[in-house]
Symmetry: none
Subunit: 226 residues, 4 copies
Amino acid sequence: MNTSSDTPTENKPRWERRKDERPQELLAAALDLFVDKGFAATRLTDVAARAGVSKGTLYLYFTNKEDLFKAVVRENLLPVLGDAENLADTFDGHSADLFRDIMLGWWRRIGDTKLSGITKLMMAESGNFPELAQFYHQEVILRGNAMIARILERGMARGEFRHIDPHLTTQAIIAPMIMLMMSKHAFCICQARPVAPLDYLNNFIDLCLYGMLRDDAGAPRTPAPC
Amino acid sequence: MNTSSDTPTENKPRWERRKDERPQELLAAALDLFVDKGFAATRLTDVAARAGVSKGTLYLYFTNKEDLFKAVVRENLLPVLGDAENLADTFDGHSADLFRDIMLGWWRRIGDTKLSGITKLMMAESGNFPELAQFYHQEVILRGNAMIARILERGMARGEFRHIDPHLTTQAIIAPMIMLMMSKHAFCICQARPVAPLDYLNNFIDLCLYGMLRDDAGAPRTPAPC
Amino acid sequence: MNTSSDTPTENKPRWERRKDERPQELLAAALDLFVDKGFAATRLTDVAARAGVSKGTLYLYFTNKEDLFKAVVRENLLPVLGDAENLADTFDGHSADLFRDIMLGWWRRIGDTKLSGITKLMMAESGNFPELAQFYHQEVILRGNAMIARILERGMARGEFRHIDPHLTTQAIIAPMIMLMMSKHAFCICQARPVAPLDYLNNFIDLCLYGMLRDDAGAPRTPAPC
Amino acid sequence: MNTSSDTPTENKPRWERRKDERPQELLAAALDLFVDKGFAATRLTDVAARAGVSKGTLYLYFTNKEDLFKAVVRENLLPVLGDAENLADTFDGHSADLFRDIMLGWWRRIGDTKLSGITKLMMAESGNFPELAQFYHQEVILRGNAMIARILERGMARGEFRHIDPHLTTQAIIAPMIMLMMSKHAFCICQARPVAPLDYLNNFIDLCLYGMLRDDAGAPRTPAPC
DNA sequence: GATGAATGAGGCTTCATTCAT
DNA sequence: CATGAATGAAGCCTCATTCAT
């Protein structure tokens, strides 16, 4: 249609060479589709098409579908995790503030973005792709858990948290977060927003702190809900 | 054909009875595999093999894969829903008791069985199979929601519940239940049982009642938590 | 074209069900194409087409391309080998006669048929398909070598052959046979039959016997050539 | 262009000289890989990588894969053939000596080098690449055969060889040579060196001469074997 | 009814070749 | 000249569905 009005000097090349941008574009397209359709149902043809390249181009940057997925995780999830670890390792103030920062950051940078779809995807399909599950477990779950546990230990060491089992508590903390993230994607078929995520989250953080802080401390907290 | 001489009490030998049991066996096999692998990843060959029949036989009873899935839902989920509706429509006592019965029954007959895998599956794959989503939405979600809402309305009508918006409250009630069910399947890759489901559930029911019961009523409730 | 003149009662089915014949037909087609084009260059589509079935049908009978090739070997080469072993184990007469029977049988049932193409193929491509090489080495080469060596040992044990190293001699015997077989296929591009195979073979057998028989024996032999 | 200031003795730095050496390096890499993997299984990426250039560079020097192969043949095989023709055309002494020189030269410069792999490759794959076969037939086989035949005719013309059919005899001479060359590559899967090539070759040359020389001549020969 | 052989569209992946830089 | 990113046809393999027996 609009090709007729092109200026005569235009010679649109069959393709453009964009070595540096391509991986990002491919990863962005892949993220969108993985989040939208899941791992198995995402066709590499579609990823390529969405990134505006041909099927073969994908294989210049990624060995195969699983590798592409891992790269999506590495590109999107791990930096967030790294930042969180960084914050946890260098934070100066009260552990309650650190905890709150971490949880809110998790929500802001993952939960509240399409990245939460990755979590949903792993929940749904990890059973069918053991290697992916293994990778995700190693690179995301164990690392994330360890970071949370370290925060709890820090709080105890500094006398800010009461004595709790760091690993059990980590599990207890993570589960509702994951559920919250999943609800964003999964309840689509219910056509209803069951909860206001941020309210739920703040409420949950306070609930956690209510349970973790030492009784005596003049600790930084918002009024416990409920 | 060979049903001519049957009397209701007659003990038919197993291999003749097979014909009637076939659908059940197929549905059982399908349920197992759907729950285990998801909808897309379940191969009909495997369903047939697990049921001890040939692939073609599946198509004598079900038009296609989606139809098989619908039948699984109809066979397993809808009766539970029907019983619940029945109970809700005929229950005699206090609405708090009815609510508790309904919620515990949901857990006992669905959440705590492999049927919860269906819920997980729909969460994960409904986006890829619109017709399935449509069916499930119509037959399960709307119906379930309506039933819950009716209970709430009953409670209000009988002066047992305070005035609440039945539909919004229904959403709020359902979300944690679904999350609880999903945690059973999805957290496998976290290698941890995040919550003791029944405790969580009872806690949650009480929490709901705490919020719904009229202040004055000498209502049947366990001590509110929190 | 000629479909118009078909009798009205004819309803050509889209396909025929030929469980028993299919494997043989597929193996025959595969043999032809493997011999003609080699392993890598043979397309399963073509194998299927030649056998008159669709691509997918191949996979009802063979796991994959390599498995198909192995089956071709098993179906065609191993029985010949088995018969030869049988003959070698039960033969009654002079070892020179046994030797001659084995060598001529080899030629008649393999060398002089398209089966010799398998040998050529393995020579050409074993380096690119290690698993195939491993299989062929195990199932054909080692077994064949062992059989020849056993014949030599039999001859020595019965005082019919002079003392020779059975394994080295086996190698020396096999090499020219293989070359003879290859010449059938490979010299196509020379457009010339370099040797009359059967003459060459008889000559070679006699040469072997000339070297193996004890000097004294009134042994069965044709006049040594050369 | 930049050759302007070059003097023949000038020691050009390597990277400037590269341009002229490129084709050689490419041909060397291609030869190695063709010999190692065959024609079809050789990837141009690998050829380029081994030569230390990019894939695209290949296409600056060769139009396509077949052209590259032809160049390999031209670069490596044809000069040897040319030298042999030269020798044959200018040789002064007894035709038996010429014959022996030619055959031993063939072995030394082709048979005993990786170039023999080209022969193997053509045997194995000529059927799949008709144009290559055509080329090789024209440029190598016919030319080589003609040269051999000319030597035979020379021997007859000079009264040194008895009367033989030069073309049939050429075929008979070539076949074992080719087999000998192939055995070097192909018997790898037999894990055994079936023959000592040089012994075999000398033996074979003598055998040929034994059959070709005139009875009376005080001809140069080593004692006929057998 | 029951079977399972047969189909064929569709997905992942490879690689010779092209071409923008 | 040189590069190597991009292409796209082609091959292997899977599996829901059909249908001859």
